[in-house]
Point group: C2
Chain length 263, copies 2
Amino acid sequence: MANTDYSRRPAKSQAAINGRVGPAIILIKPQLAENIGMVARSMLNCGLTDLRMVNPRDGWPNDGALAPSAGAERVLEQAQVFTTTAQAVADLQLVYATTTRHRDMTKDVKTPRSAATEMRVFSNDGSRVGIIFGRESRGLDNDDVALADAIVSVPLNPAFSSLNLAQAVLLVCYEWFIAADQTDASTLAIPKHTRAANKNEMVALFEHLEKELTECGFLRVEEKRPIMVRNLRNIFQRANLTEQEVRTLRGVITGLVSGNGKN
Amino acid sequence: MANTDYSRRPAKSQAAINGRVGPAIILIKPQLAENIGMVARSMLNCGLTDLRMVNPRDGWPNDGALAPSAGAERVLEQAQVFTTTAQAVADLQLVYATTTRHRDMTKDVKTPRSAATEMRVFSNDGSRVGIIFGRESRGLDNDDVALADAIVSVPLNPAFSSLNLAQAVLLVCYEWFIAADQTDASTLAIPKHTRAANKNEMVALFEHLEKELTECGFLRVEEKRPIMVRNLRNIFQRANLTEQEVRTLRGVITGLVSGNGKN
């Protein structure tokens, strides 16, 4: 107990404040309303709603952000404005500063993926987390970076790494979202009216095809027949056929055999 | 050998055609030049240069794409224009169609991360791969999807999943880039003129602090002393100090002891 630092782990009840969800996105002196709107859209794409700004150049609220938000008005309406970075992060326990520029500082530098995992751990424990982004023209001041626990830096083409503000927000928020996403990496989508073919149906298809290919003479060279049969079977195995598609293909074979397209 | 399908694995020399790098990004009937420019920027951010378009609405080339590309002119200049999707993907061995809309098709559906891994495998074997994106207003036609090997679908907030075209391109290209990126997930950046403190330096700092805290009476309660010392040592252990920072902190201790800020 004595060696445990609980200072950054408040009660879980503090996790969602005023209905705002997930990490706070904090824009320091954002310049373009269009970018603020696109940031709101990117946030909501990833399920985040806690937008904060420090001294937006053209004031707030700003109608210019509305159309680029593409329907994320809720995020804009809830946005909070502060006059200092310290105030904007005051209630947070874990803060990242996004930057690609090299800083002459001793500081943890994390990828968005690594930061997302850490943010999930803190959030699950009831901590409030946030990520600060600098103004479009010159990024974050060093004093803002010094208020953060760590730097998050997006690995990109080193010869062309400058991201638009909303793109940077999107990538960081996307990693946050994906870190807890349960989507199957790869799945076969099948229409509701059918199902994957079973092996009985597959073998019946193979035997139908092989019978017709034997009769028409395609498999007449006996020593090549086993290889040919295996190759053909593998083609259709790879296709992950549905039961309906097996019936379609058997109709295709019958149609081709009949010679005039009719069964 | 007989059961191996080599049809999709050409010679490695075909991997880079005309100097274009990585997967082709294929925009079907893109409407806004601004989006085409932002797509070029997102591609180059992730090291990709093979941009293809099928019937861009306002013709090509289009100067409106230049400024939004933010310096990715090279991608725009090399862009190829086709009149059919089939022509645009003719030289590719593996093609993904991006869509979030449910289609009544039997088709593999992959996350961008899963697709990126597969694209890397194919590319490393010398195959050409590509990803097709539909027009801004209504996405891909089903006939375009049927030309693809699989669907790639970005997991996002199901209540607000519509991405701007360039944002969708960015997320897919980002996963491609990250799939082969070697960046450490988390690293401590240290300025060149110093290095991480070694344990000899750390213990000397601890002993310096503990000696002064003993003398000033802070550690006077003998039974609490071991816990207090461990807690203090853990605070500074967690800070991952550099050798220079250890010297700074020892100066801080000396300064505080002297009472007037001078050594």
